[in-house]
Symmetry: C2
Subunit: 399 residues, 2 copies
């Protein structure tokens, strides 16, 4: 019988990429759009990383390689962990897999359909997309603007049941920018340890912090017992389209994840793995300079958004998104997103794409050229000023 | 509770890559090995393809792109289908996904756990690996050496039940090299049509035929009803480590596969997609010359293998593997593989990695430098001559 499988009902994808595709079609028909929906940047991949890739292509490093990742890259990742996470994983604890696939593989390798996975609401949309199609239940831990969207370990503990297999934390957080303190990470690790569940520590934005220090949950068990550290090159090293990431974790989980990657993908392209080595071992100053640039852009976008009626926007501590409160506009997140696309040509992501507790917020990436930020905010300000004055008139009329 | 999910019990990977990893570790400890286990080649990726990639890196085509694949590549794939498959698919019927992931996604998008998928035994190991972890049942259709390993449509029809969701054909076939005739493909399509099931037509070796013509099942329904054509760049264009492939199929399936790819992987790297355009649109003569070279290497390996006692090896019509019969050695496939690795330093894949009906055979890739083929065969011949004379002595002694 020709019918689709049950999982297809749960395949929802990543909302920002669905928006991106829709808006690209609008652009192809001549519409000018200001893109703030993706976690990409307007800036180039670093030259030394692109050159390392080209050199590898010249050497014809284009053949199959071991599915777990080439030895030099796994060693470079272990070196990096030793320097930044304060422990050195064994090479059998490291596997080279794109970061989104790490999320998919960890969830599917530790949770059966019907099991539960705990993470924050709002939380990153790929977690939501994977549990949705895998038939796993998401148990959300609400995080609130008044707590600067920090996770409360007690609120996590309350939600763990006999069906919980995995807890996911994401610091710095996408979409809220919250960076957990050392004490918070330690307390969360203890919850996972006491309840004997796996802990996925999504550290993809670990390098992208502004005056804060990133703390890894991996340090507590050296990723030998239950912690799987996810990291990659898209964010800290400005390599979004390269699709290169890695996981560090207990050998039994890492082995299964590697074999699943081998089944579905064979291996990461070797010339792209050379780019990863160049990123980890090459010039770190240009990478730090890029993050300084992001800080300036964050400050610019926050300042401009706070000048717009109906929007209030705190400055995030990490990652490269703002998550402003738009409740005073009287619109829902989805209405607001439609409104600014229609009236200002600005694309952003409704907070509800990250969970029901994202209502009242929208996500905007600030890795944009300053003039784009200025223009987009000016257009939003005009549209919202007009809308809000109209709203006020309507509200006055109602009295 | 910290425990692995049920699917992990079924994650077996691709045997040739498990062999490759094990043998690489032997090589690192100083052992000389002749590699015949992988579907890779000893020859470089074509220069114009590598240069197109480098140009794209220079233009910084390293950002996120639409998950379904960039428009220019999807158009080039549609052009290629029009020329080679005799129909032009709509752009919404085309999605750019690595070929192994196409296999995984098709199976998971059309078959629930407990459903059945029908394909040949011996059959490609990724099909076996995916159904194994996905909890789908493989119903094998035995193909026999005396029929040159051709699939019999009647034997397929007999095995289709109410639980069958998908039939997979693979022409040219890995591991047997069988190339189905136009009439065979048409008869197989009719079975899928009559029983109203999906048909995955794995055409990854479509360009790699020796004096035969490749026939696609896609022509019968223009991939609009039930046929999903899988193709990619690894084999015909000598791009194994690039991980670039595509599917052409009915819009409902293609949409779900694209969204699953977006969830797990976001998109194929844009600079690699440019390589795909260069492969499809660039110099086709060098590509045809490479396939001519493979034909010479096939003939050399077949000739040398037939000089070895206990081995009989027909010349395959397509793909780039031989699948010799090794029964006269008295060893099983697995014993033979261990024996030639131990005694001759040659790695190959036991036929049983492709199903129980692969017993009595082994798979060897012939995309190797001629001197490697000569050396490896000489070593196998020495080892087997010694072994067989010992066997004969032992058998004589038994009388």
């Amino acid at each position: 019988m020709r019918e689709l499988a049950t999982i297809t009902e749960g395949i929802i994808g990543q909302p920002m990429f669905n928006i991106f595709k829709k808006v690209n079609e609008m652009e192809r028909s001549g519409r000018k759009v200001y893109h703030f929906e993706l976690g990409d940047s307007d800036f180039k991949s670093h030259l030394h990383i692109r050159e390392a890739t080209k050199d590898a292509l010249d050497r014809d490093e284009t053949h199959y390689v071991e599915h777990v990742g080439i030895l030099e890259l796994r060693r470079a990742i272990a070196d990096h962990a030793e320097e930044h996470l304060r422990f050195r994983p064994g090479l059998n604890q490291v596997v080279v897999i794109p970061a989104n696939a790490v999320i998919d593989f960890v969830i599917r390798c530790v949770a059966d359909p019907g099991n539960e996975v705990v993470f924050s609401d709002p939380g990153f949309s790929t977690y939501i997309a994977v549990v949705s199609y895998a038939g796993v239940k998401w148990v959300g831990v609400p995080t609130k603007e008044e707590d600067a969207f920090h996770l409360d370990p007690d609120e996590i503990a309350k939600r763990i049941t006999d069906k919980t297999r995995l807890l996911i934390i994401n610091t710095p957080n996408n979409p809220t920018g919250a960076v957990l303190s050392k004490e918070e990470v330690e307390a969360i690790y203890k919850v996972a340890e006491e309840r004997d569940i796996f802990l996925l520590s999504d550290e993809i934005y670990s390098r992208v912090v502004y005056g804060k220090v990133h703390h890894s949950a991996g340090v507590h068990d050296k990723c030998k017992e239950r912690t799987i550290v996810l990291n990659g090159f898209s964010k800290g090293y400005s390599m979004p389209g390269w699709r290169l990431g890695y996981a560090i974790g207990p050998e039994d989980v890492i082995e299964k994840m590697g074999m699943l990657f081998q089944t579905i993908y064979t291996c990461a392209p070797p010339f792209i793995q050379r780019a990863g080595i160049a990123a980890l071992k090459g010039n770190q100053q240009v990478i730090e300079e890029r993050i300084e640039k992001f800080r300036m852009l964050r400050d610019l976008l926050v300042e401009r958004l706070n000048e717009i009626p109906g929007i209030s926007c705190p400055a995030p501590d990490g990652a490269y998104y703002v998550f402003p409160n738009i409740r005073d506009t009287g619109m829902s997140s989805a209405e607001f997103a439609d409104f600014v696309l229609e009236r200002a040509g600005v694309t952003l992501v409704p907070g509800t794409c990250f969970g029901t507790h994202g209502e009242g917020h929208v996500r905007m990436s600030f890795t944009k050229e300053p003039e784009i930020i200025e223009e987009a905010c000016a257009r939003m300000k005009d549209a919202l000023s007009e809308f809000m004055s109209g709203t006020e008139e309507r509200e006055t009329a109602k009295l």
